[in-house]
């Protein structure tokens, strides 16, 4: 099973995940959710450390534009995810290990679908070789 680390704004991703769990959903094995108070506090380092600690993929989630309580936290999250992707690309690792999505608290069905897709993807190395 692929290891997936989800780092997300607790006000959107966290709420979506919790309402998903209220319907009986359990995070699949190997999937970890790490809440942040806002997308603004996402650090490039969080993403890299997640990969370093063995995650196959990282999913970064923040709010849509105009829905962030701190106004530009979503922009920060998106920029920093892009920065992490750029670093990986520069290092020759490919950026597909990192996925960025915007989410809102009432998108639990979508969140479940994304998790399902990501954990069932081929490992990135295998994709590279193919």
């Amino acid at each position: 099973m692929n290891k997936l680390v989800i780092i997300g704004c607790d006000r959107s991703a966290g709420e979506a995940l919790r309402s998903l769990q209220e319907t009986g959903y359990c995070l699949p094995e190997g999937v970890i959710y790490q809440p942040l108070p806002c997308g603004g506090s996402l650090d490039v380092l969080h993403v890299l450390r997640a990969l370093e600690s063995g995650a196959e993929r990282v999913l970064v989630l923040s709010c849509y534009a105009d829905a962030c309580r701190s106004f530009n936290g979503n922009t920060w999250a998106e920029k920093r995810t892009a920065a992490a992707q750029a670093l990986l690309t520069e290092a020759g690792l490919g950026q597909e290990r990192i996925t960025y999505r915007q989410v809102s608290p009432n998108m639990s069905a979508d969140l479940g679908a994304w998790i399902h897709t990501l954990i069932n993807l081929e490992p990135v190395e295998a994709q590279d070789r193919a």
């Binding site: 380092l45 890299l48 990969l51 670093l87 990986l88 520069e90 290092a91």
Partner: protein
């Protein structure tokens, strides 16, 4: 302050090929302020390097340290006890810091992780621009506080040239304002436009890089 920028990762990884046990040393002064080589950037870069080299150099280890001001031997002294146990040091300081470490620890390989760019200031969050070329003979008094040596692409002291259009420099109209337009506007504001009627004589460049590496000695401070 000194503005620097990270080298391409491929260049850094190439420089690390011969080594197995590397110490990264950051600097929490200028390069930290310009977000290139402080404690946080050390962590980010070392994480990327470990990921990048996981397959090709799996035995490579990278440790992280950060000193307050790498151009000061005293502040690097804390590294002395352990530095010998590493094959190489990768420094995220400016060129001065890198050389300080190399001088201070003659047995240790010291590699730069940054390109030192210029002396400048932050214009806004994430944007830095050059303000001083360190010519050693400041002319700012005659040019309304705007340095033609640094900010005019042609270093003209009797400008502007014909490449100034709409206040922008022909070298890069989008990003570079014409220094001579800035000088004119500022002098006009100060009511000192008549200064521009004087011909600026040829500058004495002997205080600049042309006389070899420079030193400053304060006899009153030096014992």
């Amino acid at each position: 302050m000194i503005i620097a920028e990270r080298k391409p990762i491929q260049e850094i990884t190439a420089s690390l090929v011969p080594y197995k046990n590397v110490l990264m040393v950051g600097c929490n002064t200028c390069v930290a302020v310009c977000l290139a080589g402080g404690a946080k950037e050390v962590s980010v870069l070392s994480a990327v390097l470990r990921l990048a080299l996981r397959e090709n150099q799996p035995e490579l280890t990278i440790a992280e340290r950060c000193v307050e001001r790498q151009c000061e031997a005293e502040m690097n002294a804390e590294l002395a006890t352990e530095i010998g146990s590493y094959d190489a040091v990768l420094s995220t300081a400016c060129g001065v810091g890198v050389q300080t470490l190399a001088e201070q620890f003659p047995e240790t390989v010291v590699l730069p992780a940054l390109n030192t760019k210029f002396m400048g200031r932050p214009e806004e969050l994430g944007v830095w621009s050059e303000r001083c070329a360190g010519c050693g003979n400041c002319v700012l008094d005659r040019f309304g506080g705007i340095c033609p040596v640094t900010r005019c692409s042609k270093n003209l002291l009797n400008g502007p040239c014909g490449g100034s259009a709409n206040g922008r420099c022909e070298v890069d109209p989008v990003n570079i304002p014409c220094a001579w337009q800035l000088i004119y506007d500022r002098l006009a504001r100060l009511g000192q436009l008549e200064r521009l009627t004087a011909i600026e004589p040829a500058k004495d460049w002997s205080t600049s890089r042309h006389g070899g590496p420079r030193r400053v000695i304060r006899k009153d401070v030096k014992l």
